[in-house]
């Protein structure tokens, strides 16, 4: 029986699995709980829905457990062309979504991921002596990688039949309202304009323009030391500020919108009016309370929380339920308390690497 388990088989779980495999664990020693064995089953349709053609950021933008060699050197080798290397040196390498998906498929097969996947959804995690019980099965080390809890829709539009979420499959009507002011909204403005639609941007505030990545020091100890030492209330406020909707500055975003505005095809409004279609680019539900498993951890086991975040140790573990003999860790978007960019591939690796370190160091293994 495996003594290491991953709850959630999305990208965060997949990366954790790859890292465990590199750490020397065989597929039989790892159990992954997820109803769907495809690690991009959730991510793929969302990327397709917003017509995402290229990966947005290249910081460790792959699922290999080690940073090197990433996709750029491999592509350079495969094509016999140094361009991807030059691009990655200048932080300009952005592989296509298709290449990324192919990479996931290859890795899935090579790492024998499917052998570890148990097609079920875990409803409860209960601490027991020297480990945890998950719906009847016992494990010593558990990584929770539940992903985003669900899509977020404004409550006032809940019953509106015109509404579709940006991350759900959709076409564009001739006149669309796009609700939101973040990256998905900006992407949808361009998509809809490209499709010939007239766009009404519905937003409560002017969009925040800043680089896609969080401040770089927050990706390493340099910024994380200070972040981890920040008092809880201040840390929660910082995380809220960092996760505010935004999109990057740049002519590629501005020019099409300005041109459309001059042609009368783009305008801003405070509320939805008579548009044929309403696309909600309003992101995801936020916070542990929207995830049933995490909510139970907090309410029934008293796991500490602050605002909408689970309070985690710097190594992404749950302090109250982790000791020398067992580990309960969190990866992915719900691990922001330990790593602000935890919803990026780099952030998923951060949690995974520390989880593997604990698993390997555990005396009872």
């Amino acid at each position: 029986m495996a003594d290491v388990t991953i709850v959630g088989g999305g990208l965060a779980g997949f990366i954790a699995y790859q890292t465990l495999r590199r750490g020397g664990l065989e597929p039989g020693a790892i159990a992954v709980f997820d109803p769907d064995p495809d690690p991009v089953a959730t991510w793929r349709p969302r990327a397709e829905a917003i017509r995402q053609a290229r990966m947005r950021s290249e910081s460790d933008g792959h699922c290999y457990p080690a940073s090197f060699p990433g996709l750029a050197p491999r592509e350079a080798m495969r094509r016999g062309d140094l361009t991807p290397l030059a691009q990655t040196v200048c932080n300009r390498y952005r592989p296509t979504v298709r290449e990324f998906l192919r990479h996931v498929d290859e890795l899935r097969e090579r790492s024998r991921w499917d052998e570890s996947v148990l097609p079920s959804r875990v409803a409860t995690v209960s601490p027991v002596e020297g480990g945890f019980e998950l719906d009847g099965a016992r494990f010593r080390h558990v990584l929770l990688a539940p992903g985003h809890p669900g899509l977020s829709l404004p409550s006032e539009l809940g019953d509106d039949t015109r509404v579709v979420h940006a991350y759900e499959p959709h076409a564009y009507a001739s006149r669309v309202a796009i609700v939101g002011a973040g990256m998905a909204a900006a992407t949808e403005w361009l998509n809809a304009l490209d499709a010939g639609a007239e766009v009404v941007s519905v937003r409560r505030r002017e969009p925040l323009r800043r680089p896609l990545n969080l401040p770089r020091p927050l990706f390493s100890k340099r910024g994380l030391r200070r972040f981890h030492a920040t008092p809880p209330a201040e840390r929660a406020a910082l995380l809220a500020e960092l996760s505010a909707p935004s999109y990057p500055p740049g002519r590629a975003w501005d020019e099409p919108v300005e041109r459309a505005a001059e042609e009368g095809r783009f305008r801003v409004a405070a509320s939805v009016n008579g548009e044929e279609e309403v696309i909600c680019a309003t992101g995801f539900q936020r916070g542990y309370v929207h995830d049933p498993l995490l909510r139970r951890l907090a309410s029934e086991l008293g796991v500490a929380t602050s605002g909408r975040w689970l309070v985690l140790a710097p190594d992404s573990t749950v302090p109250a339920l982790t000791d020398e003999t067992r580990t309960l860790a969190v990866a992915g978007v719900q691990a922001q308390w330990a790593y602000p960019a935890s919803d990026t591939l780099a952030g998923m690796k951060y949690a995974a690497r520390r989880f593997v370190r604990r698993v390997k160091a555990c005396r009872t293994r």
Partner: protein, 393 residues
């Protein structure tokens, strides 16, 4: 990557291990200190920039920054090499730096992230191994410095007063003159690794006669009334610093003549004052740097690089030379920059049209790269004869 300060230092030290060991082996093989001194300059410059500059200015360092930072480190290393007169030949030194830089990049971008998955997240820190480096580095420094001190040549003290020469030196040593130490009849050097300081030489055929000797240093020495050359070096590499040579009244004497040493480490003459004689400073078939000297009242030329010599003539002051101030001749290549050449006089008595009072003259297939010099009151500031070239920077 966002390095922590500790991460920068550990990554730097780890990348320095192999170059350091290589230079240790090279130093042992060659029986010379310059490889280790070069490595020391490179590592020292890197560590100083890490602490003083990079950590403050670069909270995030993109991969492309390695190139400009590498050039900055190369500049700093060259500055240290010059400051401490490290006797490293240029081309191997540049290759050594380049190889070390490439190694550091390969380690930082490929090897460490493979060997230690959290390398980037840890800001370049290397865990317990990195801490070990902080112990190892001072230990290595102590070993090297200890060896350097233990293998220093003995110091011989020359007491104040007049000593009848010629003194002949056949073993490595430091000859340290006390205040007022004078040698009559010259000093003959026939051994490598000889340093002579604070000694005045009076008379003799040559003040200092150096032959077949490497790494000879003459510091704060003076020569007067030598019959031929103040300092005469053949098949040797010498560094002459803060010397004074007086050849006034001897029309045929030369101040400093370094010749036939092209395959040796470049020689240097710096901060010397030379008065009178036929030529002030002259090199034949030698690589040399002649900088910061004051040469005046010479009867033939003040500073000459000739017979396929190669080097730099910079920041010198040349006054009242007869015929030619600075001369680059016979297929030599001379970088002439920052000099002051004033009041060169035409040598009409010679009847030689190449001696009509040139501030700088390039002659017979020689090439002068001319920088920003102050050339005043010379009948012809710059000239070329016999298929020579002057290229302005």
């Amino acid at each position: 990557m966002s390095y922590t300060l500790r991460g920068r230092l550990e990554s730097r030290l780890a990348a320095s291990i192999l170059p350091f060991l290589a230079t240790c082996a090279l130093s042992l093989g060659l029986g010379a200190w310059w490889p280790l001194e070069l490595a020391g300059a490179m590592i020292g410059a890197g560590l100083a920039l890490d602490v003083g500059l990079y950590h403050r200015l670069l909270p995030y360092q993109p991969a492309w920054a390695a190139l400009p930072l590498g050039l900055l480190e190369l500049t700093a290393t060259i500055a240290l090499v010059r400051l401490f007169d490290v006797a490293a030949p240029l081309e191997p030194a540049l290759w050594f730096f380049f190889g070390s830089w490439v190694l550091a990049q390969v380690l930082a971008h490929a090897c460490w992230p493979l060997a230690r998955l959290t390398y980037a997240e840890d800001g370049g820190e290397l865990g317990r191994g990195g801490l070990g480096l902080f112990v190892l580095a001072p230990a290595a420094l102590v070993v090297v410095l200890g060896t350097a001190i233990a293998t220093q040549p003995p110091t011989v003290r020359l007491t104040a007063g007049v000593h009848q020469g010629p003194i002949v030196i056949r073993t490595s040593q430091v000859l340290q003159g006390e205040k007022g130490a004078i040698v009559r009849g010259g000093i003959v050097i026939r051994a490598s690794d000889v340093t002579i300081r604070d000694v005045a030489v009076v008379g003799g055929e040559y003040g200092f006669d150096v032959e077949h000797a490497d790494n000879v240093r003459l510091e704060r020495v003076s020569v007067s009334d030598a019959k031929l050359d103040g300092i005469h070096a053949r098949r040797s590499s010498v560094t002459v610093r803060e010397c004074r040579i007086d050849s006034v009244g001897n029309r045929w004497a030369q101040g400093i003549d370094i010749s036939f040493s092209f395959d040796k480490h470049p020689s240097r003459v710096t901060a010397c004052t030379i008065v009178g004689g036929m030529e002030g400073i002259v090199t034949h078939f030698t690589m040399a740097r002649i900088d910061g000297n004051h040469v005046s009242r010479t009867a033939l030329r003040a500073i000459s690089m000739t017979e396929m010599s190669m080097g730099e003539i910079s920041d010198n002051e040349v006054w009242d030379a007869l015929g030619i101030g600075i001369f680059c001749n016979d297929m030599s290549m001379c970088d002439v920059d920052g000099n002051v050449v004033v009041a060169t006089r035409p040598d009409r008595a010679s009847g030689d049209t190449a001696r009509i009072g040139y501030g700088v003259l390039s002659s017979y297939h020689a090439e002068v790269e001319l920088g920003d010099n102050e050339l005043r009151a010379n009948p012809v500031p710059v000239g070329t004869v016999a298929d020579a070239h002057v290229v302005r920077k």
